[in-house]
Amino acid sequence: MKYVDEFRNGELACKIAANIKREANSKRVYRLMEFCGGHTHAISRYGVADLMPSNVRMIHGPGCPVCVLPIGRIDQAIRLAREHGVTLCTYADTMRVPASDHLSLMRAKASGADVRMVYSTQDALKFAREHPQREVVFLAIGFETTTPPTAVAIRQAMAEGLRNFSILCDHVLTPAAMHAILADENGVEIDGFVGPAHVSTVIGSRPYEPFADDYHKPVVIAGFEPLDVMQAVLMLLRQINDGRAEVENEFTRAVTRDGNLKAQELVAEVFELRDSFEWRGLGSVPHSALKLREKYAAFDAEKKFSIGYAAVPDNKACECAAILRGQKRPQECKIFGTVCTPENPVGSCMVSSEGACAAHYSYGRFREVA
């Protein structure tokens, strides 16, 4: 497969691995956080850890959209579908995130709620157009990558005068989460970040500059292919060894300093910052999520159906919160792989293949028994 195989090439991987090994100072440990679930998945799926020296440790970050959704947000969606009789549309992985009362959107669907999996906001919009008698709510989740398509859908709905379409807006912001991790005084020690791939195509590399300037943490933006990740690790090691803290861009084939200005304008026109938003693992983070502007209030399901948000504590045995902050590894959770499995996830990190627990369970768990 042209343009993809090149970034999964075994011979090149060997060469980069040799360079990483040469660059890594054996007298120290390098703690690198890959922010995105896409990176976590690539590392696990291709066995990248086997090619790295043991003193280069990858710490999985919170950049998995379904992982960071707190229980209360899923409860809200389930309430909409069950009590308000709406057709709730959302992306696949969201369907399996555990909610209160042993429910998930999938289980709510099985018990009769109208929950539908869609591949894009356009599918939800189309369904609303074709079923004018149904109230259709799109559960809009994700980081900056999925926000512009939601903005497009809202503008289309407005232009068409579509009255039976609205969104439950759970869009969140990457830099705010990185800031929350670095600002936590008891937080995990991090020497550098493998920066987001797809998110950065939208927001550009500029928003990461404060992490280099103010926190003195190197950031290397990397694509989601295994060689991208390895090259970014090499670039981070060089920065750390040189005592530099800069924002570098490995993913130059898609990311610029300013990003996609048109998408940014669109998002700014439709959305505004929430004062604060509760994240799973990170707690309440100020200015870390978006809501619809007043102009588009008619499309805001929270207002339309007057459903408030209530925080719900996580399962006590579940370590998702610590895992999302990078403080624990999946295998350090007592219920990992026993009570909590991809078939019966207790915490959200076991749901999506981008979640740290699911990725380790599905691809890497032979390492503990070897």
Binding site: G10, G47, Y119
Partner: protein, 349 residues
């Protein structure tokens, strides 16, 4: 006075007619559907007996029986349809046991309002597949459900075969050191279906691999190679089938990603939809586990057959109490190839 000849019954309108509830209610309408469509198309001496069951000649040897329900959506797809799929699927289940498939039964659940022209197409495709395989449909049943209670057509087929003497194939027989052989590329059926799904249609030259494998299997058994396990990796794909075998045998496996063939359009479609071809369904492929010294002989026989031209050793069985199926990635790392979690592609067969 009527000029119509006595005893004349207006034939079924197979061009514009639709399935009605009466077609499943046991009356004259059902008798007509059976005689004008099913019996006429499947056309064999057993069905012609016209009784509640078929009387079959005595078989010599142990019998193998397998059954399979088919609910695929869409009903017609590139490379096949629910009709031939329902024949191939059950023949393959009988054949991978090491048996020669002899007879099939078929039961249809039809939705009221389904076009008879489409039903005719499906039945003709089934009859063609059965004739090509030399395995007749000898008995059947038809039920009709109200609109919205079915999805056009559901077909259940059951197959009976007779086991060859001396053949002992079972999922629990894989041993450390055995070779794992795959008969060809993976993921073709699942992605052919996916590419034609409503809401997802993308133009791709992907054709389902649906095929009856009993001819290939007969050649493999004739080769004299020591076969321990045969299985067709359908739902859940290659990964799930290998995990089933590993679990049954209490052994592990080490696969070589580079040896597993994925056709470029399938690979691209999987990449596009975020699917792993290891978990995508096949309907005309098989996995054989054999003694290592016999692998070359087996491969030669398989490659000489149309359905095994791309046969390849993709890994080996290893001793592992945890029963992990692992894979050396093309990148040079290692990963687990786990059971399929949840549902990757619903309604594919």
């Amino acid at each position: 006075m009527s000029t119509v000849k006595p005893g004349y019954i207006r034939p079924l309108d197979l061009k514009h007619g639709r399935v009605e509830l009466s077609h499943g209610s046991g009356g004259r309408a059902m008798a007509q559907l059976i005689s004008e469509l099913f019996a006429a198309t499947f056309d064999n001496e057993y069905l012609a007996q016209g009784n509640d069951g078929a009387i079959l000649p005595a078989a010599h040897g142990r019998l193998v029986m397998a059954t399979d329900a088919h609910v695929v959506s869409p009903l017609f797809f590139a490379g096949g349809d629910i009709g031939c799929l329902s024949v191939h699927g059950t023949i393959n289940d009988v054949a991978v046991m090491g048996a020669t498939p002899l007879y099939l039964s078929a039961s249809f659940i039809l939705e009221e309002g389904f076009p008879l022209a489409d039903l005719k197409r499906i039945v003709e495709s089934m009859a063609h597949a059965a004739r090509e395989a030399g395995v007749p449909v000898v008995t059947g049943d038809t039920k009709v459900v109200q609109p919205g209670k079915g999805d056009g057509v559901f077909i259940s087929t059951t197959g009976v075969g007779v086991l060859r003497d001396g053949v002992d194939l079972s999922g629990d027989r894989a041993q450390a050191g055995d070779c794992i052989v795959l008969s060809g590329s993976i993921g073709d059926h699942g992605m052919a279906i996916m590419s034609q799904r409503e809401g997802l249609e993308f133009s791709a030259s992907i054709t389902s691999d649906t095929a009856a494998l009993h001819g290939l299997i007969a050649a493999m058994l004739d080769s004299g190679a020591q076969l321990r396990v045969l299985r067709d990796p359908t739902r859940g794909g290659l990964a799930t089938t290998l995990n089933e075998i590993a679990k049954q045998s209490g052994a592990g496996m080490m696969l070589d990603e580079a040896a597993i063939k994925v056709n470029p359009p399938v690979e691209a479609a999987c990449e596009f939809l975020g699917l792993d071809p290891l978990y995508v369904a096949n309907e005309g492929k098989l996995i054989a586990i054999c003694a290592p010294q016999d692998a070359d002989r087996l491969l030669a026989v398989m490659r000489a057959h149309l359905l095994g031209r791309e046969a390849c050793v993709i890994g080996e069985v290893i001793a592992d109490a945890h029963g992990f199926v692992q894979m050396k990635t093309k990148l040079g790392g290692r990963r687990v190839v786990d059971w399929l979690a949840g549902e990757q592609l619903p309604r594919i067969c």
